[in-house]
Amino acid sequence: MMLNNEILLIIAGMAAATFFTRFACLALFSRNGVPEWMGKWLKHVPTAILTALIAPALLLPQGSLDISTGNHYLLAGCVAAATAYKSRSVIATMTLGLAVMFALRWLNI
């Protein structure tokens, strides 16, 4: 059998839950728009969420805090941050960051 009902139900449930989280706020604000006090707060959501995705990925790559030269993610992250600051370019930041990452892996420092 190619599909099993239990797995299909799980996939359907996960799809519904995920779509709910992505669409709920749009549906909520689609008629009257976003209230003004909330707009002020929402302006800072991109900065906050990008930071909350980056900081743990660099400082806790294996799940525990690792501030050492053995943490390749942190070292490559510092290079990427400097590149991003200087160049403002996604491609330059990713290229240089990944190059440092591969070099560290390859040299096995």
Binding site: A15, A17, L26, K40, H44, P46, A52, I54, R88, L98
Partner: protein
């Protein structure tokens, strides 16, 4: 030459925006493909069929919750309710992303909003909101990003399924660093004013402490709520002074 040729029609603008979204997504897809491969390999490893594994990527389209669900399934019989609830919790951060795009998207027809919401993942949100910062919002751009990531995710899951256990873990190459690197490039321009810098520092501290002590992805939600609320309050105070 007719006016229609000189002035781009609405259809042309849509195409141009779509292409520009796809173009901006291409370098970033490098970071998603290893996760898609790993997702396909994992599905086969825990005993899902190829069709089920690809179907999950096509319908759920949420990497982190797919990995968690497959881990739960692999550990033995797991209840439907528990897996769906975990998915909901992992994806709660999208509520905040949706709210932050709502002011731009609420003029679109509801079916279009629903279609764009289906494709709103961390990366496509980050690209879309960066385009808002630079030039303003356009649904074509968002659709271009969503389409690129969707195709990359489903296709790389399928490739992972067919490679099965024959290849080594693609995440061990360090390619997963592509994602934080991309986010860094999109974050940096937002830190040029004082409020932006403070929001970033607060979010960094709360998310790191949260990741150390809280289960799951709660650290993202809590850090985002705390730091963005602080940013809103700071701004309110500055307005009052002026």
């Amino acid at each position: 030459m007719s006016m229609a040729r000189i002035l781009p029609s609405r259809g042309n603008v849509m195409t141009i925006e779509l292409q520009s979204g796809i173009r901006d997504s291409l370098p970033v897809i490098v970071g998603v493909v290893p996760f898609g491969l790993a997702c396909g390999i994992m599905g086969i490893t825990i005993g899902m069929t190829p069709l089920e594994t690809v179907l999950m990527s096509a319908l759920v389209f949420a990497g982190a919750s797919q990995f968690v669900a497959m881990t739960m399934l692999g550990a033995g019989p797991a209840g439907w309710g528990l897996i769906v609830l975990t998915t909901l919790l992992i994806n709660l951060r999208h509520l905040l992303m949706g709210a932050s795009l709502a002011p731009y998207m609420n003029r679109l027809p509801v079916p279009m909003q629903a279609l764009l919401a289906f494709g709103m993942v961390d990366e496509t949100y980050a690209l879309t909101i960066d385009r808002v910062r630079q030039k303003g919002y356009h649904p074509g751009y968002q659709l271009g990003c969503n389409l690129s990531f969707y195709i990359a995710w489903v296709a790389s899951t399928a490739v992972g399924v067919f490679m099965g256990e024959r290849i080594a873990d693609p995440l061990a190459w360090g390619l997963d660093f592509a994602m934080p690197a991309m986010f860094l490039a999109l974050l940096m321009p937002r830190l040029m004013d004082r409020t932006g810098g403070l929001v970033c520092i607060l979010a960094a501290v709360v998310s790191v402490v949260g990741a150390m002590y809280l289960p799951g992805k709660w650290y993202i939600i809590i850090a985002c709520l705390a730091a963005s609320a602080a940013g809103g309050l700071l701004e309110g105070k500055n307005d009052a002074k002026q």
